[in-house]
Symmetry: C2
Subunit: 205 residues, 2 copies
């Protein structure tokens, strides 16, 4: 009952991220979990299996992340923050091109695309509030960001002025997500060419 302090401070129910040492340990587990996912995708996503691969006890994983759902969300969030190779976006890059570039980064880590699909599927079910918040907030934030970008591109004449920026944003995100899935299942699908075509359509050329 008296676990080592950095692993399970006494009496705390959800102490994650409370003490510097705990924060460091949590981050260490997370980094390892990201590696595991990048290597193998999400085909064996039980907490126990991940704990085993990461080399921590199941109890420690549960202690730091609570549930598989929380760990999955954290792994995805954290992976997205990792700096990718430099891919400078041209100043007149349309939203579809921006999504294409970010999708390209994801495709280098197939496990990440699988993980994202799993999270979205979980989000659509009723009993996964954390995946639901994650997906809902991610889509809302992306729509806002891209809609703003669209307005600027409309002002500079790079996107058709008669299009609703919010609808364009929703369409571009949907197209990028959906094309990525089709490409993963069949690499004959030219994800990039389809987004470039959407790009041209949005520019009105």
């Amino acid at each position: 009952m008296t676990g080592s302090p950095e692993d399970a401070p006494e009496g705390e129910v959800r102490p994650k991220g409370r003490y510097p040492k705990g924060v460091a340990r949590r981050q260490e587990i997370l980094d390892k979990a990201i590696e595991v996912f990048a290597r193998r995708g999400s085909q064996k996503t039980s907490l126990r299996a991940i704990a085993q691969e990461v080399g921590v006890t199941h109890a420690a994983l549960t202690h730091y992340f609570g549930s598989l759902e929380e760990l999955l969300v954290e792994v995805y969030r954290e992976s997205q923050h990792k700096p990718g190779p430099e891919r400078p976006l041209p100043p007149d890059a349309s939203p579809a091109m921006a999504m294409s570039i970010s999708a390209e980064a994801n495709r280098e880590i197939p496990g990440l695309v699988q993980l994202y699909s799993t999270l979205v599927a979980m989000a659509l079910e009723d009993n996964h509030p954390i995946a639901h918040s994650f997906a809902t907030e991610r889509f809302a934030r992306l729509r806002d960001d891209i809609a703003e970008q669209v307005e600027q591109l409309q002002a500079s004449g790079h996107v058709r002025a008669d299009l609703d920026p919010v609808l364009v944003a929703a369409l571009v995100i949907a197209a990028s997500d959906g094309l990525q899935i089709q490409w993963l299942l069949d690499d004959g699908v030219n994800h990039e060419a389809a987004l470039e075509m959407l790009d041209r359509l949005l520019r009105g050329i």
Copy 2:
């Protein structure tokens, strides 16, 4: 190879649905499972839970469907065959409009959209060959059908002639799938308006 000809056509290995009585019972279970899904979505998709709701033993379910994955695929396939309300498609309906109409039918059964997302997420993992075949074949068939429709619409001047029909097909399917997911998570997303916009872009108006 000596099964009754109408029930187990040559080349079918698995004995399920081999005898008329078995076929009827299998269909009965499937119909019940579809009802269960339509009512509750896929939030509790263990075979045991479904068996309980459907009112059959777990052994019987396993006997007729083999695995949860197979049952899910069958439930989705079968639901798609059910005749929906009449929605005549205008002769010059663009591909995006056609997808919008089929998506509208799905939205009336939210459980079906969840089930579809779950199947696609399973398909992206490594250990679900049945979901993988289902999703891969569904996308390939849809792309073929829609690409053919696009060619006809290009010939009649209803879709821009400079677009690659196969890329248009992949884009329209991706947009429809992705927008449906965004709408399910946030009903402020105007799925239909976004597809209508894509429609206009494809027509070049």
